[in-house]
């Protein structure tokens, strides 16, 4: 193999797990294959490995059951929170009378908490359900953001207001990637808090179906923990 060719093969092999990379690169050296053929071999193995992941329900759930609908709903919530915050600060964009009351303030706080908690829970569950296809979920979330940024038409709000959910969602993903076990009690507390705080939001007139779509990721770890009990904590598969 030429030095450029072997470098390309080494780079492609970085997409494999450590032990497999060792074995594959050794096999290629022993077989004395050309750099081009070795590169094709490694890339085909990488593609097969990635494709096999999608035989499970997990990546599909993470990407299309959670990331895509969750991104759109959370962008809607982000805009809603931004609008209410502007109204509370004296900008009269919508029918803002209600928001000047104590009830309006509670409503805003609930929305803010729900935005933070649902975004965090969404990111957490996405990383938990399928960490090895997380890049696909991230790309889908990016596409949803680009689509909404391109069609954003509210002049009084900055486009950045669409992306308020991203920071807690990224923190949730980091937490989901960082742990291998989660305590049942923590999962229940988060899920209950989100569900209870959703009640005033539902009374405020938001669509029930949309609201419950945001709630289910919070209950996912509880359900998973209940149905796959292993000792005192939830074992998270990679």
């Amino acid at each position: 193999m030429t030095s450029v060719g072997s470098s390309l093969v080494e780079v492609a092999a970085q997409l494999l797990q450590r032990d497999e990379r060792e074995a594959v690169l050794g096999d290629l050296v022993e077989a004395g294959e050309s750099a081009w053929q070795a590169l094709l071999d490694v890339l085909s193995l990488v593609l097969l490995r990635r494709a096999i992941l999608w035989k499970s329900w997990r990546p599909w759930l993470a990407a299309f059951g959670l990331t895509v609908p969750g991104s759109f709903l959370l962008m809607g919530t982000s805009v809603s929170v931004s609008q209410m915050f502007l109204q509370m600060s004296g900008h009269n964009i919508l029918n803002g009378d209600r928001l000047k009351t104590f009830h309006g303030l509670v409503y805003l706080l609930c929305e803010v908490f729900l935005l933070l908690a649902c975004s965090w829970a969404g990111g957490f569950v996405t990383a938990l359900v399928s960490r090895r296809t997380l890049w696909v979920s991230a790309a889908l979330c990016g596409l949803a953001c680009l689509f909404c940024l391109a069609s954003f038409r509210i002049e009084s709000l900055s486009r950045i207001s669409l992306l308020l959910f991203l920071v807690p969602a990224i923190l949730g993903v980091r937490r989901g990637l960082g742990i291998t076990r989660i305590k049942l009690i923590s999962a229940i507390i988060l899920a209950l808090a989100i569900t209870i705080l959703m009640v005033p939001i539902l009374r405020g007139g938001r669509s029930r179906a949309l609201s419950w779509t945001l709630v289910w990721p919070a209950w996912a770890p509880v359900g998973y923990r209940t149905f796959s009990c292993q000792g005192g904590a939830l074992a998270i598969p990679s």
């Binding site: 497999e20 074995a23 594959v24 690169l25 077989a31």
Partner: protein, 109 residues
Amino acid sequence: MMGEFEYLLITTAAGLGDGAYGASIRKELAVATGRRCSLGALYTTIDRLEKKGLLQTRMGDATPQRGGRAKRMVRVTAKGVRAAKDFYDTVTRVSRSVSWTVNRTGRTS
């Protein structure tokens, strides 16, 4: 029942014994079938067979002719031997009455 390529791989590994690892299996398969075996097919099939309990793998020693890289050694389990024998018996049984079966005298029956 195992697939055709799974049978080929497990039989080749059994034939190689302690010398069964990725490159040696691939070389033997190419000689036996006359076709090149891709690394993707080889390693994903090894993983599948290992999950079924028909093979066991472990990382072996690194050797200079492999650029100091370790081998992934392959060993056929007792369950793998039984599964391969079942496959062979089935193929032999189903092939008895067909015209392309070559009998012991070398003529087709």
